[in-house]
Amino acid sequence: MGFGLAIGVFGVVILAHAAYSTIQYRGLLKILEEEFSGPPVNVVVELLLGLGFCMCAALSVPGKFLSIHPDSEENRIVSLPANLDFMIFNHRGKVFPSETGLKLKC
C-alpha cells in the first residue's frame, strides 16, 4: 500500500508540473503574440503519464475489491435468517441432557 500511495503522489506531482508548464507556455505565447491552440506535445505526454500513475494508485490503495455478483461462490445465499422473533421454547431439546455445571458465577 505504501508503494501504491507513492505512485499516486508521484502521479499528482506530474499533473501539477504539467499544469505549471502549460501556464508558462501560455505566458510565452502571450509575449510572442501567437494564439494558444493547445498545450505542447511533451505536456500531453506528461498528462497521460500522470493519468496512468493516478489510476494505478486508485486501484491498488483502497484494498481488496468485494464481489458484487449475487451468484458468485462467496455471495450466494445459503440460508435465510432463523426468524428468532418467533422462536418457541417447548421443543424436543428439553429432554436432551444439557451440560450440567453451567452456572453463572456472580
Binding site: 445465499i77 426468524n83 418467533f86 453463572l104
Partner: protein
Amino acid sequence: MVGAAEEAQLNRLENQVDNGGGGAWEYLCLVRKLKVRRSEKVLKHGLSILNNPNKRSKLGGDEWTLHEQVAIAAIDCQCLDVAKGCITALQAKFPESKRIGRLEGMLLEAKGLWGEAEKAYSRLLEEDSLDQVIHKRRVAMAKAQGNISGAIEWLNKYLEIFMSDHDAWRELAEIYVSLQMYKQAVFCYEELILSQPMVPLYHLAYADVLYTLGGLENLQAAKKYYASTIDLTGGKNTRALFGVCLCTVAIGQLSKGRSKEDKESSDLQSLAAMALEKTYKQKAPSKLPLLTANLRNLKLLS
C-alpha cells in the same frame, strides 16, 4: 441472509473456539449479526466469557448485550437458572426496561406458565401498544401452545399494522403450508417476493407451493418462477433445475388432449436437463446413471 462466505467464516470461528483457540467474542458477535440459532455454543462460550472477570471487564458496555444473548440461549437450552441469573443482573443494571420485561416474559414461556407470560406481555403492551417484538412473542406463544388458528389470527392482525415485516410474512407462509392452506401461502409468498425480489429462496418456495397446488396455470407460473430462481442463482440451484423438468412433464401431461400449437420454447427443459447432468457429473458421479435413466424416461434427454 447468510451468504456462503459468512457461513464458512462462522464455521471456522466455531471450530476455532471449540478447540480451545481464542476468538469467542468475535464468534458471538458474528452469531448475533447473522441471526443464526446456535444456542448451545452461544451458551457455553458466552458463559466462559462472563464467568471470567478479566474478559468481562474487557468488554465494557458490551457485556450487557452479551448477558441478553446468553439469557436467550440459556432459555433455549432449558438452563433456566442461568437465564434467571443473567436477567437478574440485567435488571439490577437497567431497572424498568422493556427489553428486560420481554426477557422475563420469554422465561415464563419456557417454564410453561402461559397465563403469566400472557399477563406480562399485555402489561408491556399497555405501556407501548406498537412494540413489534411483543406482538410477535404473542404469536409465538400461541404457536407453542398448539393453538395454530389463534397464532394465524394474531399474525394477521399484526400484519395489518406492520405490513412491511417480511419475517412475519415468511412465518405466516410457513404456518399456512404446514396446514396445507396453499392458496393463502401463495399470497404470503407473493408479498415476500414483492418486498425482496432478489432473494432466490423465496422464488423457489413460491414455485414449490404453486407446483403443489397443480392446475395448468399454476404449473406454468411455477415453471416461470423456477426459471427465475435459476437466473438469480446462476444455474447452481439443483432443486430449481429439477423443478423446471418436472413442471414441463406435468404441463405436457395436462395438456395432452389440447392443441399443441402453442408449444413454448422446448429449449428450457432440455437445457435444464443438460445442466443437471453436468452438475451430477461434477458433484455426485456415482448417481449419474440413475439421473440419466430417469431423465430419459421423462423424455427430457435424447
